[in-house]
């Protein structure tokens, strides 16, 4: 059963279509990564799902409730893309207030647990007006978690926080997934998405350009792989010339004793290795370089 389902969901701001007819399904327990350049429409899409903005057309279904988004709001947690808080309230006051608003008052122990989880313990009594950007982001995550939701929308959860906190937040997201929650997140940090997301969608100019698991995306975009073959460091000039003739149909490159060959398909690798050993050339290591999400993304 999908937890998020959209059908031809679109949004226009005064005739300018920012999200165009997106149909998407996210299953329970996924960490769904939503990528795209600045202005691609990621936030607008998330905001429609969370009730912050209203769709121009299309249909959406969260947690299998097709009547009324208001009825499931207490089961959904949201970190909006940009937020300021009430400057005169402390972090703790915020969480207390938001809990009551969502109709699920929380115990002090729960509030402390969430503050600890996001790394704000020690700052809980400070007025939020004095918080740094990263601290506000953490409070934003805390308020998304405080009512223990089943489904979480996190719009750039780690942007603007320090490296250590970012790793901490990524761990937290993985932990939440382990506890059966579904997470829908946007990010500009491709390493992070590659590391923690189970499935990825890349958005471009309001459309979903491609979607799938990391493996599927790699397969789809892997037009050429680069094979790195480590040879003996005593390889001679004439041997190199030999290899060049042997692999005349490939584009090759040398990096000292490292032979770099571009192949179209993995199946070609054994042929190359075979040809080399037939020439009596010792092979120390073979490494196939796969494109990272970054390379896939940049090719969009």
């Amino acid at each position: 059963m999908p937890v998020i389902e959209t059908e031809k969901l679109s949004k226009s701001f005064s005739r300018n279509e920012v999200v165009s007819s997106i149909s998407l399904k996210v299953e329970k327990g996924e960490i769904f990564g939503f990528l795209g350049r600045n202005g691609a429409g990621k936030t607008t899409f998330v905001n429609m799902l969370t009730g912050i903005t209203l769709p121009t057309s299309g249909r959406m279904l969260l947690l299998n409730n097709n009547n009324d988004i208001d009825q499931i709001k207490h089961r959904v947690g949201v970190l909006p893309d940009y937020s300021t808080f009430y400057d005169h309230l402390s972090a703790k006051d915020h969480l207390k207030y938001f809990c009551k608003v969502s109709g699920k008052p929380a115990a002090t122990s729960k509030i402390e647990e969430v503050l600890r989880a996001v790394g704000l313990i020690g700052h809980e009594k400070k007025k939020v007006g004095k918080f740094s950007f990263g601290m506000k982001k953490k409070l934003g995550i805390a308020q998304a978690l405080i009512h223990d939701p089943e489904l979480l929308f996190l719009d750039e959860p780690t942007s603007g926080v320090d490296a250590e906190s970012a790793i901490h937040i990524q761990r937290l997201i993985l932990e939440l997934q382990k506890n059966g929650k579904t997470i829908f997140m946007t990010s500009h940090n491709l390493d992070e998405v590659e590391r923690i997301c189970t499935r990825i969608a890349i958005m471009k100019e309001g459309h979903i350009h491609s979607t799938g698991t990391m493996k599927e995306l790699k397969k789809k975009y892997q037009t050429r792989s680069r094979v790195q073959i480590k040879l003996s460091s005593h390889i001679k000039k004439e041997q190199k010339e030999n290899i060049k003739n042997l692999l005349f149909s490939y584009s090759i490159e040398w990096k000292d004793s490292m032979l770099l060959v571009d192949v179209m398909a993995e199946e070609e690798i054994p042929t190359i290795v075979h040809a080399l050993s037939k020439e009596g050339i010792d092979i120390f290591a073979v490494h196939v370089h796969e494109p990272s999400l970054q390379e896939i993304f940049l090719r969009q």
């Binding site: 009730g51 903005t53 208001d70 959904v76 808080f85 005169h88 938001f98 969502s102 109709g103």
Partner: protein, 227 residues
């Protein structure tokens, strides 16, 4: 909804403006109770009982809209500006947010005017329930108008400016409309609350219909917004 209501009410008590308004209202209540005590007999149709509350009634009639607008012109648009509304809108329904805020504001004024009337009741040893209700009807009209203003004007700086002009213009123009026979101004007395305060029981409540209309309109606008 109640969380939003109590927060709104509590926040209204913060800062310099409410202190000023409360002092003015309490000050006027005190002055008029002195007046009531000094003139036990009826003067030009004004009874002693009316005298006791006259200060408060006069202040609210002249400045009620101004006070309410000063405190609540940005009740909605400020949260939209600062985007804190996103935290509320992702947690509860839009109806509950707006109605919660509305009830919080009403509660604030119930407490303020209630305090003034408690003071008057204690000094005059008379109950002034009708007067309390009259003033609250007037304030309900003003609060709903402030909500409509805050939902129509997107920026809080603009709603302050427009609110200020309206708060000064409405009493003046209504007075003109009250005495004028000219068609282009006469109608105004029927849409502002002053005219109805003179009337008897059921018609006295007409401003409440306007208040309801303003709130329904505000809800309609609020529900169609992107935040």
């Amino acid at each position: 909804m109640w969380a939003i209501c109590f927060r709104e009410c509590k926040d209204l008590f913060k800062g310099f403006k409410p202190v000023l308004i409360i002092s003015i209202l309490l000050g006027m209540a005190m002055v008029s109770t002195r007046l009531g005590a000094a003139f036990p007999d009826e003067i030009e149709g004004v009874t002693q009982k009316e005298m006791y509350t006259s200060g408060l009634t006069l202040t609210i009639t002249l400045f009620g809209i101004l006070f309410v607008f000063a405190l609540s012109h940005s009740v909605v648009n400020k949260e939209i500006e600062s985007k804190t509304i996103r935290f509320l809108v992702t947690k509860t329904s839009r109806n509950r947010i707006l109605l919660g805020k509305f009830m919080g504001t009403v509660l604030f004024w119930l407490i303020i005017i209630g305090t003034c009337f408690t003071f008057i009741t204690l000094t005059s040893r008379m109950f002034h329930l009708t007067n309390y209700i009259e003033i609250m009807i007037f304030l309900l009209y003003s609060i709903s108008a402030a909500f409509l203003l805050s939902n129509t004007v997107p920026k809080s700086s603009q709603s302050m400016f427009i609110g200020l002009i309206l708060a000064l213009a409405i009493p003046g123009l209504s007075l003109w409309a009250y005495f004028s026979e000219r068609w282009y101004i006469m109608w105004l007395k029927y849409v502002t609350p002053y005219y109805y305060t003179e009337l008897a029981f059921p018609l006295q409540g007409v401003p409440l219909l306007f208040a309801a209309l303003f709130i329904v309109l505000s809800l309609y606008l609020f529900k169609r917004r992107d935040f």
